[in-house]
Symmetry: C2
Subunit: 147 residues, 2 copies
């Protein structure tokens, strides 16, 4: 794509996709939320080539969604943990997952439960203030003025 131009795009979706618009990055973030932290854990779980994984982890770190943490001094070993921005990405993954479940849900599927109650979690996007479901009311997009 064209990362330079897109970062000036006033659309927040475009800005997010400027660096996150590839499947591997999102799957790495999914695994990071699942608890994986180490290079080889990601590599084995995703079946991704090490060269690509290196680049993706570097990009996610650079972009502030992951950070490197030394977990052993001798030998020096680093792992990748989610930052606050990375943890805040969870709703995106959930929403993608909800769509996938609804429209690509044939066959066996992972289920996501409340850890305590065991109830299946069904994500729904609402407006924070009104609580009205997104999509139920017409919206208006306002471009920023001036230049």
């Amino acid at each position: 794509m064209n990362d330079k131009n897109i970062c000036d795009d006033p659309c927040p979706i475009a800005r997010c996709l400027a660096f996150l618009g590839d499947a591997w990055s999102l799957l790495i973030l999914r695994d990071a939320h699942f608890g994986l932290t180490r290079f080889d854990q990601f590599r084995k779980n995703l079946g991704i080539g090490p060269a690509i994984l290196t680049r993706r982890l570097a990009a996610l770190t650079e972009e502030g969604l992951l950070e490197k943490r030394l977990y052993s001094e001798r030998p020096p070993r680093e792992e990748y943990v989610l930052t606050t921005a990375g943890r805040d990405f969870l709703p995106v993954l959930f929403t993608i997952g909800a769509w996938g479940r609804k429209y690509r849900g044939e066959g066996r599927l992972v289920r996501i439960l409340d850890a305590e109650t065991g109830a299946e979690i069904r994500p729904m996007l609402v407006d924070e203030v009104t609580g009205i479901k997104i999509g139920d009311r017409p919206i208006r997009i306002v471009e920023p003025d001036g230049d």
Copy 2:
């Protein structure tokens, strides 16, 4: 990536990303929600090369998020309109946008308002049943059993 394997993946996120894991597709969907339908509208608005646009539109159509509709018989002209599955993708775009606004929100940014009240919309992901915000409670992932 490896679309074949990933379609059997029991993770709904992976299934969604198997075909949607690229930025252009998501930006096309964004523009489609914004009201664009025609090849040249997408092309000009996105600044995307026609070859790539052709491929992406074909993929989105193939995957059932867009469908072609004849809007003129003479000359024969087709446009791309969102299907139900495509329209249901809106929460994903909103959630991505909310993240982008929070973490890449420097400078001028598009605003999304309720068309009637004019109030800014702030998307929040909650559980459909309990109304509890996603991320506030620990979750448990259950792999499908058997094979």
